[in-house]
Subunit: 441 residues, 4 copies
């Protein structure tokens, strides 16, 4: 149960400077765009909120609206900001970097930003990675390319060492673009800053290609990623349809959340079955995948199965590959290969023809440039992050929740996760589009 | 001021049949996906709603949640549905047609849908256009192509004649995909049905490439359209940058609302000025576009100006081309050509070199297939429309409002329009991304 | 040594009918487009041909020009044609099918074409696959989709059975779209036809995504395929550059010929090493891949290695997976996984960090629709095939050789293969673009 | 009649240095890739060449093979090269720039190239444009973007002034990328160099989006351009098909040559009529466009007309807009608008409904990045140019003729032009694909 207290964003202190937005408009003072501190958005927007509430109005959970403030904590022009990108690639990283640099320059007169290279490693002198200076010219065209011009890496470094680096470079604001592990790292950096009594803001832009961050709606790069994954589903359908009893299996990203699999399947409109971590299924038996698959192939001549990489883990328990990578993420057994093998064996046992095809877009979906809609989103997220940071907010991330940009404390987005609800309307849409059984257990 | 009464959706009567969702899941009864009638979503989600409300809780404005109902008005299997697409093309029309046909088949056992051709003309026998039968096979691949397989046309026909046609074909449900003019037409059809005491549901899927429908968030096809327009902005920047004092003018759709211009500019990230109908500006004078343009060209060597087709109408009053088309829409004077001519004259008067380039993506942006995210959206909108119609709802449209699918009465979406707010965060993002002056008057 | 005799195309007999091209031009007789029988193209176009020739002029090797003939063997309007697509998918199959149907209709008044389904299996009644009728309307939009609407399969069937099927359906012309195995099959069908003294023409459109057909220049779909593969190389570079000591390995198609690997690498312009079947290399040693790779990673921070699936087979001899598929093609060991594993082991042995990424676009590159240039090529190839068949030519394939469309006997294209020459200018361009060593042995 | 003498490439003198290709291969001397001076390619490859020749063998017209030479005129490492891009944009300019820089660096140890900005203007100090230094790092990603990083401009400058600039910067080689006007300019620069007895090579890479350069096959960027134009044709067909009696007119580039119109129409496969400068037609009369158009619309419900910008000039004589631009190119009257207006009037006069749509992709087709196949071609053209220049060749351009890279004297490519032959197989393919009448006069 999230409370109002969980959603209160920290600040470094009372604001001390006027925003230069006025000077930006060439001598005409205006404040029409400033967000009022009282502008807050209800977490829950259903009628139960107002009719069946259990908390007093004063404590009802609301989010702080993001956007420019009339008063700033950091002085325009002389503020020193830095940015770091962490974890796996995601479409839009360069867009975020570019928009942070541009917004600081255009809006606050901060002409350069320090870029730490290769994730938190770049904040550790032991890595030998020297930071680069980013200006509006050096970032001019980077949004047209995938990846991150700063490089990235997984894993954390000692917070004391990293804060030393921030102090040594005179950094006032650190922007961290990364996943939930990186956001936990940003929170630890914030705690070290707080412990030392420093005036450094830490503002995150959450990155997850799996779209599994709570509270903040769709994550940047997600729609670019599922669009790319949908191309593989379309190709898989072409292959399956072109062969005798063709069955194509498409593997998508999604370790714990099946969003990419669901949206890619809805986008391609040609999947026959979608298998996600949130919805268990059986392979054998009268209501298992194999039985339904045989029926589908027999009826329509082919079938396409979309498998999220985290699906069927209970079925794969015996495989037990296990282990963890540098960020402590569990290494999963491969459900797509497993499903493929079971289908092969099933048809072989019946002495029937099946033509199997395997598709794995792999890293391709995260290495492409952001599509136009994600480009808009990244630019606006980055602008929101810059406004928040300049106002002295810290230990927070930005996000868009139901079309409103919001500021959210880091702990609120790292303490839980976000999954496809097996009872929700997204999964229902998938079931309707695939015509797969409601349950295969 | 929108009230709760304005948002109450009409029904043809009390539901009479059980939904066959259970049979769909192969013998396992379930109702987990059915939407409860009490599920309503607050129109306003800011804290002012709960703290500063002026209406009693019972009357607070809420939207009905879209989705499948446990009880239906029309009988599964034997219901007869028709669909018509009206007005200008928009990416996603074929996706909507396909998903309506598929959802009726997969979910409700309705194996065919009648398609009226070329808009409301197809409902008028005088046009000589015979309807076509759509089945899951005939619509199998249509979502991969732009346009509408049914054809379209502008303008209305006599409602009496059209209802006669519905009766003659034994239609229970008419799906209308069209703009606000077409939705007004659908409302008139509904009124004629009601007057005659017929049991025919009229359910709309609102279409507007300009994204100017109130209440229902982003319209389908909009992001595909602005993405395509953004390509022209990128090309314009390439041309302008490659020339001596290059100035490129890009015209976008947007008669009354500048959404395409704004989003396309944010997506391309390379526009210098964005001119929209909602924000007046001056050409001459010390704070006019020409003065700012000269400065920009002098500073950076080039400039890109994005002009919505409805911009600068007050400046163009003298052009006075006027007139109306078949749907009664005003014919606008062309601001892009005007701006181009003024720039040419301004540089000529100063005897300075300028290289002008004009870009008009025109109809191209509305003729392309839906992009993957719009494909998902169209499928889900159409499923929502099918669920609403089968439950006996009528005189309504479907939409997605802050990520929730909703059912909304037609009058609520045709009595007002939706524009870019000159005080809102979208326009602020545009100003930040272009670094154009806050005001050029 | 190819002789003139090898390049002489067979015909069923002397032409018997006037071409209807005249009627096609609305009453105006003309023959300007007809190809003269004397129009032949030199196989060799270097000056050695004329200065250092060893054969008499009368025997110099030349190709027959493709195109429409003034006189036909088969009667317009009443000719009965069939088409079959065999083997693996390739971009452009639907374009070829569509253009064959359209050219027969528009040019020769043949309004329908029989389509045998799933390759040669569709010519064998035992398969239970009934042929479909293709008309200009049913093929109208198929060129916008990948794959083949007729389906495909590998492997041959008994020629006697297949010729029985042709006779049973009254077929005059059989168009075979397929690879070299399928062309050998077409030749056998021709021999059976000849043995029985039937008047059935067999005309092939050679298909090979690997571009390894001799004499006829670039094969259709090849540039679409390498363009798609180049996307993976670009993604691989993004991943490698974004990581600490990133090394990405991209696997491409190319069992015996490295054309896709070479062209994709040239297109992406970001590969560091290209490994193809035609150029052996060593892994270890001072001039082996591992040593050069370490140097490249050390110099530039990352590297991208493109590996054709048929590369390094001699190094993989010990893996010895072997075996053959239904078409008798050798199953190869996987060089990409091998290279990846050796790199991993090499860095591990030195206790140095390396971040490995693996990319395999797989079937995706052959399942996409033809790109515009391939669309043009497929249409023109198919038109050439239709003209050749109507004139009574048989046991031949069409191709474009140095920008001229030609007719070539099937045996001339199946008795040898076409590879990347390690001494030629294509491989030199690859070496120049990658800056990889001329030799790594 | 082109003679052997016309095709002899000039050199600055006898080569003086060994090529460093050997050092490039890490200590292993080799010359397998060097082109022999005797390697020449026949201009004509038909059998008439050898059987019906009218010139002695010694004088038969042949082209010099392009590629690396074993001996160089300019010293590796210390040679100083410059590059300039002139005239209108074309896809692939940045690819050519990048590959020139990379080839000089990788192959000849020349680490930097001077880039003159904005065409020949950048060689005239009066323009105030200072050249930029290009290195392998500064050009690393430019091929992913359209346009030219050097900028461009039309028109010539005084050759004496330009040669002064070359001398002042110590330039040994000038690469000129431009159209036929720019190549005439390059020839004049060469003449001035020759007059002064300087040792500066001038090597051109011919650029023409219209594909109208003689002798050298398809020009770079051409297929990217027609692919982009084909998108507009597809959009036009979608619009026309979606409307009542829809007629869409698509304008393409092509002032004197209809190649873009022809190839774009063949690529889209949906045009009904193609109008090009090379083939006159009538509007009215029983065999005019209007009559055929009415029939087509009546038969199929819609039509798409592709109009090259230089078509119908004789019909437009009365419009007489005339004039010339800075490069002396004739300004054409607009045939697309003319055709559109005539159709409107024709249907109005008959009181029949027609829905007209106009598409003009305009500059968009030349501002996009090179597609993968053009990327390969640009890289190889640039490598060929670098090899030619280092060997001391001058007053020449590179090209690919029937899949062989060749060196050709500038005068041979500027003294004539290249058009679509109304009697050739390309135009026949267009007639076959559109099913338009062979003649509409």
């Amino acid at each position: 149960m999230v409370t109002l207290a969980d959603l209160q964003v920290k600040t470094l202190g009372a604001p001390r400077f006027d925003s230069p937005l006025a000077s930006y408009v060439e001598g005409r003072a205006t404040n029409q765009y400033y967000v009022a501190e009282s502008d807050r958005i209800l977490m829950d927007d259903t009628v139960e909120l107002v009719q069946g509430r259990e908390v007093p109005w004063e404590e009802i959970a609301t989010f702080e609206a993001g956007g420019p403030r009339a008063r700033l904590y950091f002085p325009p022009r002389s503020t020193r900001a830095a940015i770091v990108t962490c974890g796996g690639l995601c479409p839009g990283l360069n867009n975020v970097i570019r928009a942070v640099v541009r917004a600081l320059d255009d809006h606050y007169g901060v002409p350069e930003v320090l870029g730490f290279r290769n994730g938190y490693a770049g904040l550790d002198p032991a890595s030998g990675l020297t930071p680069v200076v980013l200006t509006r010219d050096t970032v001019a065209d980077i949004h047209e390319r995938g990846g991150t011009v700063l490089g990235s890496s997984r894993g954390a470094r000692d917070p004391g060492v990293m804060v030393d680096t921030l102090v040594r470079h005179g950094i006032d604001i650190l922007f961290v673009v990364g996943g939930d592990g990186s956001m936990r790292g940003a929170h630890v950096i914030h705690e070290e800053i707080e412990r030392r009594g420093l005036e450094i803001a830490v503002v995150g832009v959450p990155k997850t290609i799996d779209n599994d961050i709570p509270h903040i709606g769709q994550s940047f790069g997600f729609q670019t990623a599922f669009a790319k994954a949908a191309e593989s589903i379309t190709a898989a359908k072409v292959e399956a349809q072109g062969a005798l009893n063709g069955v194509a299996v498409v593997k998508t990203m999604g370790r714990h959340a099946g969003f990419i699999a669901c949206y890619a399947a809805l986008a391609a409109q040609t999947a026959s079955f979608v298998l996600i971590p949130e919805v268990p299924f059986a392979m054998g038996g009268p209501n298992g995948l194999l039985a339904h698959l045989r029926r589908r192939v027999s009826d329509r001549g082919y079938a396409v199965i979309v498998v999220a990489e985290g699906a069927a883990q209970e079925l794969l328990a015996e495989a037990g590959e296990g282990g963890t990578d540098a960020s402590g993420n569990a290494v999963l057994a491969d459900p797509a290969r497993y499903v493929l093998e079971r289908i092969r064996a099933d048809y072989a046992a019946r002495d029937e023809v099946v033509t199997l095809r395997y598709f794995d877009p792999g890293y391709t979906i995260r290495s492409v440039p952001a599509d136009p809609a994600d480009a808009v989103y990244c630019a606006r997220l980055a602008q929101t992050a810059v406004h928040a940071a300049m106002s002295g907010r810290t230990d927070m991330v930005v996000g868009r929740r139901r079309h409103r940009f919001v500021n959210v404390p880091i702990p609120a987005v790292t303490q839980r996760s976000h999954n496809v609800s097996p009872d929700g309307d997204l999964w229902l849409s998938v079931l309707e589009s695939t015509a797969q059984p409601l349950s295969m257990t």
